[in-house]
Symmetry: C2
Subunit: 604 residues, 2 copies
């Protein structure tokens, strides 16, 4: 892009230019809304392949390219190669530069859920990227030259990075993965220009480790230690591998934290059932949404969604920032579709709960109500003991949603035009058996045998009944009312993000390779194309020479695709933390092939 005079072209400015896709979620609010409308509900049926680019890498291709001016930045799964493509011709691309980070293969062995990477960020003429083996790297966006590279996570401790970094002002903020390895979840900020670390804040442990400050509610004091059994907070998970959003006005970054280390609840609370549910063993701040000051990392508020997690309901999914009318008041809110099956609408300034409503069939929690308990604003969920694995031998069947959640990493999208949020959901459940486990640094520390299974369920709430044999479903959620307007059922999981556009058309992909366009008002599918491999990437839209393009990666993988990409033994349905059984039910071993290809579409 030539001529953008703003000294420090940050995402907020760039996302105003309709033809760009300057950040993972297109803007700091993670709306994944493109203001382009050349493609609309009438002509989308004429969508045609414009060009295609193979990354030269296989395994799961999550995330999305960036488009800044007439340059597209593509990133591959491990080893996380970044390509800069000159796409100014529209129907062609030319590789300007390619950056291949040197990585320690150890990372591959400790990547829980396939060697994925969810994207790169752009700021001030730099491309900022993470590597699976735990480095944060800044490149000159023009030449691909490495400007700085810092070590942020240690694969030998089971730590990796699979998330896209966010750049808030001059801070590059990054989390770590490793919740299945008993690592200690944390977030750090690095100076955009030098790579010097500016702040480091843990998500559990002593108050100062968690960067409590003057704005941190008094009621939070000590929770990072007191809600753990013994010193288990030291291997307390709460990792950060999902999406970051940022409110420049409030200067707050929002992210979620993973499961509290070992999946085996009894290791984390061997007192009575009532005590384990009392709040004493909530394992704060695992499975929480956390808001931090971008400059200092200070913890401003935190909201735990699954106290004392017994299901591996990581809370890392994206929090989309949007303003919602609550009663007569316009509230600066965020909406978060959590792994535990609840959609949470919070006031993003205070962290106050507005509502928590299921967006898929849920049976781990019988009911929930809001109480202002010790930590200020926690909803008190009433768990169903028959669906809450706890002690060894406590084998539970048909627990919904599965550990893969009502939604996993696949990001939702919000259209200000329709006012609805479009959410790719998972429709299956799980059998769960707690199992003995010991912690040794760098090795898996899970303690559960899990099987992902469909299980059919009816519900009186619109859009929560399951359709037999349909593992995926795109729902259109009214954030104000907290209800499903319409939905699209899919045979295969919808493990790809959603794109929404001003033209009234949405896009998503399926794990058996269908790439579809749908009407944002009616959820009616308008166009489909079968691509080369399952789609777990997030579609984007951009413009070159006045022509609108839609692009998406096709390359099966992620946790749901791990049995195929890691070639796990199909005779062990418990393999891949239960993902193998899902692959068997979906016949993925026969129906799926790996890939790593970007497909770009436009009107003829």
């Amino acid at each position: 892009w030539v001529g953008l005079s703003i000294a420090n072209p940050q995402v907020e400015e760039l996302s105003k230019k309709a033809g760009l896709w300057p950040a993972p979620g297109r803007d700091y609010h993670l709306t994944r809304y493109s203001p382009l409308s050349q493609i609309n509900t009438h002509n989308v049926k004429n969508l045609d392949l414009a060009w295609s680019f193979s990354t030269g890498v296989l395994r799961g291709h999550e995330g999305q390219p960036l488009v800044i001016g007439n340059t597209m930045y593509v990133q591959t799964a491990y080893p996380n190669i970044v390509y800069a493509l000159d796409i100014s011709k529209g129907n062609d691309y030319k590789i300007l530069w390619k950056y291949v980070p040197q990585q320690d293969d150890r990372a591959v062995a400790v990547a829980c859920c396939d060697t994925v990477m969810r994207g790169i960020s752009y700021a001030d003429g730099k491309i900022v990227m993470n590597t699976l083996d735990g480095h944060v790297i800044a490149l000159d966006a023009k030449t691909g030259k490495e400007l700085w590279k810092v070590k942020h996570a240690d694969p030998y401790k089971g730590e990796t990075i699979t998330m896209a970094p966010i750049v808030a002002k001059d801070k590059v903020i990054v989390g770590i993965s490793g919740g299945e390895f008993g690592v200690r979840g944390r977030v750090a900020a690095y100076d955009l220009n030098s790579g010097r670390r500016v702040w480091l804040c843990y998500n559990q442990g002593p108050d100062q480790d968690m960067c409590y400050g003057s704005r941190t509610p008094a009621s939070y004091k000590g929770l990072g230690v007191n809600t753990w059994q013994g010193d288990q907070w030291k291997i307390g998970g709460a990792t950060v591998w999902g999406w970051f959003s940022y409110d420049p006005k409030l200067n707050l970054v929002y992210y979620g934290t993973s499961n509290p280390g070992t999946w085996n609840p009894y290791i984390r609370c061997s007192a009575s059932w009532e005590e384990c549910q009392s709040g004493r063993y909530d394992n704060k701040w695992s499975t929480s949404i956390i808001a931090r000051d971008a400059d200092t990392g200070e913890l401003v508020w935190a909201f735990q969604m699954t106290p004392f997690d017994q299901w591996d309901y990581d809370g890392v999914n994206e929090s989309i920032l949007l303003d919602v009318n609550v009663g007569s008041k316009k509230v600066p809110a965020l909406i978060h579709f959590d792994r535990n099956g609840f959609a949470f609408l919070l006031n993003r300034a205070t962290g106050e709960l507005i509502y928590a409503k299921p967006f898929v069939y849920v049976n781990w929690a019988k009911s929930w109500d809001e109480r202002h308990a010790r930590d200020g604003h926690t909803f008190k969920v009433t768990k169903d003991p028959t669906k809450s694995p706890w002690k060894p031998g406590d084998n539970k069947k048909d627990v919904c949603p599965s550990a893969m959640g009502g939604k996993d990493q696949q990001p939702a999208a919000y259209s200000p035009e329709t006012g609805l949020v479009y959410v790719p959901t998972n429709q299956w459940c799980m059998d769960y058996e707690p199992a003995e486990t010991k912690y040794t640094e760098g090795a898996p520390y899970v303690g559960a045998n899990v099987l992902m299974k469909f299980y059919e369920h009816k519900s009186s709430v619109h859009g929560l009944s399951k359709t037999p044999g349909h593992y995926g479903r795109i729902i259109a959620w009214d954030p104000a009312k907290g209800e499903i307007k319409c939905y699209i059922d899919e045979k295969y999981p919808t493990w790809s993000g959603v794109l929404v556009t001003k033209g009234g058309v949405g896009f998503y992909g399926t794990m058996d390779g269908w790439f579809r366009a749908f009407d944002l008002k009616t959820c009616k599918v308008l166009w489909s194309k079968k691509l080369g491999s399952g789609i777990i990437g997030n579609p984007i839209s951009f413009e070159v020479n006045g022509k609108q393009y839609i692009a998406v990666y096709s390359g099966i993988g992620g946790w749901a695709g791990l049995p195929v990409t890691a070639n796990l033994d199909p005779n062990d349905p418990y393999g891949g933390l239960g993902a193998t059984n899902l692959s068997l039910e979906l016949d993925l071993y026969r129906q799926a092939t790996m890939s790593g290809v970007l497909y770009v579409f436009s009107l003829e």
Copy 2:
């Protein structure tokens, strides 16, 4: 396909069904002509992606799928997985079965020119395939079950297989690769039903090794030994890794043989220049077209194209069978566009030379004329000593064509509608330095330092002048007149085969990923689409539910792409037997990415 009553549906019958692609070259004559015409010169501009299939394998994807009824059979580069796809829906595919051969990785180290495979064959309800590590395998086409598997070549001797097998009646006929490893080139036939070997014939050595018989011309006697220095015929190359054609009426299979082992000519003739050119050191039958009886393997005729090869001009390219009017007579001919830059038109019954004319710029040979020398029908080529490397220190520059030939493995196509042959050609030359080398079994035995380089050249003959900066060129060749009618210049090499169709449209791909349609009459490009990776596969056409489809693999590699797929050191331009310099001139290290994806197109 239901209802085909013929007991033993062979290629000849199946190729009469317009909607199928039942053999590598579509028919036994290797015309690559599809009788479908829904797509024509007017509507081809509306061609659109119908669906895409990722093979899950990278490196060079040469060859082509087969389509029998509503099932497509796809094969990958090493490890040569075969997929059967149900394509009856038209816009979708479903994997029916997948066969993954177990292979010895040793083969990868001795594959001279990337881990490619040029296709599979079909006969009598069986799919017949080869593996890089030297096995011939028959599968039940319905279930993918392995019926038989025989060892045909030994990687520990430097032997591999990269060619598509041909099935003539109930014989599966296969050659071997290994000309760069001093192997002994041969062809064998295996019984289609049992896999029992029926015959084995060498291409050099004693007469009975070469399966001479009553029909073998008397003048051929002893040539397999007497035209070699000492017993070098034992490591005499003449391997068979190209295409097989078959004339059911004459019951003759036609194939070509590779270079005569070591590239270093002086090792093969250290007498005087005159003696080396006398015929005494011709190294028969290397660089030859050979016709054998399909049932017995008997050598019926052989025609050597590059006596005493000094350039690695393998003679394995396809021989397309077509009838041509010579004077007033209609002659059963074959046309063969050889690595040495000459187009040979022979009488395919007798092997008699009709003409040998350059189809690219040639300077290794000053002139040629036909003489009935000792072996009956050999053209006597007058070599240009300044372009004929021989003794150590005999470093020659700008030798044309390069060792990669005026054409390499990429197969031409013949349209009976236009009467023209459409040939993908290579437009670069080479510098060549003979070098010392010793033979050890299983190790490279080359003895030359080579650099592929463009070198611009003018010629008075239409279509032979080179266009600066254009490494590829599709020519339309009049087989009767022996001249170029029209041509299409391409910046990147045209290392993919050509498809011609009744609709008057031809298709081909380029090494920078362009897939193009052109008018068979005018050579005008009508449609282009930039795919994910360089195209070295051969386009095919087929029909499902009355709709015509065009399909091609995209996955760079082969010899020309080897530096990228084998990640050869870009600082050694002599790497990859000179291919690295070509990659540097083409900027492939930056512009190319690997892939393995089938793209299928149709009219909307």
